[in-house]
C-alpha cells in the first residue's frame, strides 16, 4: 500500500505502525506518531493497522530554543 509519511509518499508492505517503524529503522520509544491527524499511543503501535492512503507524521525532538529574531543587526 501507499502511505504519505512526513510529507513523502512511500510504498510499503508493513501492516502496523510497529512494523512500519521497524522498516524505517526508528526506535518507537523516542517518537510520537500521528495517523490522519490523530495521535496514536505507543501501546497501540503493534495493533494499529494502517490503510492505503493514510497520512502519517512521525516526530521526535531536535535542538531548539525559540526561533531567530529576524531583523538586521543593530549598531551601537
Amino acid at each position: 500500500m501507499k502511505l504519505r509519511i512526513n510529507g513523502e509518499y512511500k510504498e510499503t508492505q508493513s501492516k502496523t505502525i510497529s512494523e512500519l517503524l521497524k522498516e524505517l529503522d526508528i526506535i518507537p520509544e523516542r517518537v510520537a506518531v500521528e495517523v490522519n491527524l490523530t495521535i496514536i499511543k505507543r501501546q497501540e503501535f503493534e495493533n494499529y493497522y494502517l490503510k492505503d492512503g493514510d497520512t502519517i507524521e512521525i516526530v521526535n525532538f531536535v535542538g531548539g530554543g525559540g526561533l531567530e529574531f529576524k531583523i538586521s543587526n543593530l549598531k551601537f
Binding site: 523516542r30 505507543r42 530554543g65 531567530e68 543593530l74
Partner: protein, 256 residues
C-alpha cells in the same frame, strides 16, 4: 541553605535553563549544556528524517534521565498548531511539561497573547505543566496564571536579539502580580543581562542564542552559570537603596 526551585512538585537544581538550538553539532550542544550546569533543556518537536536514518538523535547526547527535557512549540502561529505540537511532544517525551509559544508576528516573533491564553487554558485542563512564553505585560502574566500556567515566561527582549532586559520595571511588576514562578525567556545577550533578571527576583532564566551564538559557546555557558548564581545570591542578600547623594562608608567620629 539550599535554594531550590520547585514548580508543580518538580525540583529544579539550576535556575539557568538552556535551549539546544543553533549549535554547530550535538557534541557542542552537550558540552555547552554541561558547562552551563543547567538541568532543564528546551527542545523542538520536528519530523523524523525518514530518508536519512543515519542522522543522530539529540537524546543520544542529552540524556533524558539526567536532564529535564522541556519541549517547546516554537514555530507555531496558531492555537491549533500549538496544541498539536504540545500533544505530540507529550506522547514522544518523558514528561507533561511544555514551553508554550504561540507566535503572533514573523518579523518580531512577539507572542500572540490571545492565542497563548487560549492554548494555556486548554493544555492546563489536559494536565500539562504549561510554561507560556509571553510579553513583559503584568496583566497578561496574571491572566496566564489564572488560566493555569505553572510559571510565566516573559521576554526580556525579542528572541535572539541580545538586547537584554529592556523593561526591568515591567518584570518587577510581573513579579508582584503573580504567585507562580517567573522565568525570563528571550533577550539575554550576555552574562550581566542574566544577572539583572535574577537580581530583580526572577526565579530562573532561559537562554539559548546568547550561548549558542557566542564566539566560544562553552565559555559563555559557564559565564551564564555564574551570572545566574550571582544574581540570585545578590537578590537574596538584598541590595541597598539607590540614593542621589554620597553616604560615607568610613566613620566620621575620631577624625583629626
Amino acid at each position: 541553605m539550599e535554594d531550590k526551585l520547585v514548580i508543580k512538585g518538580i525540583e529544579f537544581k539550576s535556575r539557568l535553563w538552556v535551549g539546544t538550538g543553533k549549535y554547530k553539532d550535538f557534541e557542542e550542544t552537550a558540552r555547552a549544556v554541561g558547562a552551563s550546569g543547567a538541568d532543564v533543556v528546551t527542545v523542538a518537536v520536528r519530523r523524523v528524517n525518514i530518508v536519512d536514518r543515519k542522522s543522530e538523535n539529540l537524546l543520544d547526547y542529552i540524556d533524558p534521565k539526567k536532564y529535564k527535557i522541556l519541549p517547546n512549540t516554537a514555530g507555531c502561529y496558531t492555537v491549533e498548531d500549538a496544541l498539536r505540537y504540545s500533544r505530540l511532544a507529550r506522547e514522544a517525551g518523558v514528561s507533561d511539561m511544555i514551553k508554550l509559544e504561540v507566535i503572533g508576528d514573523e518579523k518580531t516573533l512577539f507572542p500572540d497573547v490571545i492565542g497563548l491564553l487560549k492554548a494555556t487554558e486548554i493544555l492546563a485542563k489536559e494536565g500539562f505543566i504549561v510554561f507560556p512564553y509571553t510579553n513583559d505585560d503584568p496583566v497578561m502574566a496574571k491572566r496566564l496564571e489564572d488560566a493555569g500556567a505553572a510559571a510565566v515566561m516573559p521576554l526580556g527582549a525579542p528572541i535572539g536579539s541580545g538586547l537584554g532586559i529592556r523593561n526591568p520595571y515591567n518584570i518587577k511588576i510581573i513579579l508582584e502580580a503573580v504567585k507562580v514562578p517567573v522565568i525570563v525567556d528571550a533577550g539575554v545577550g550576555t552574562a550581566s543581562d542574566a544577572t539583572i533578571a535574577m537580581e530583580l527576583g526572577c526565579d530562573a532564566v532561559l537562554i539559548n542564542t546568547a550561548i549558542a551564538s557566542a564566539k566560544d559557546p562553552i565559555a559563555m555557558a559557564e559565564a551564564m552559570k555564574y551570572a545566574v548564581a550571582a544574581g540570585r545570591l545578590a537578590y537574596k542578600a538584598g541590595r541597598i537603596p539607590k540614593k542621589l547623594y554620597a553616604t560615607a562608608s568610613s566613620p566620621i567620629e575620631g577624625m583629626l
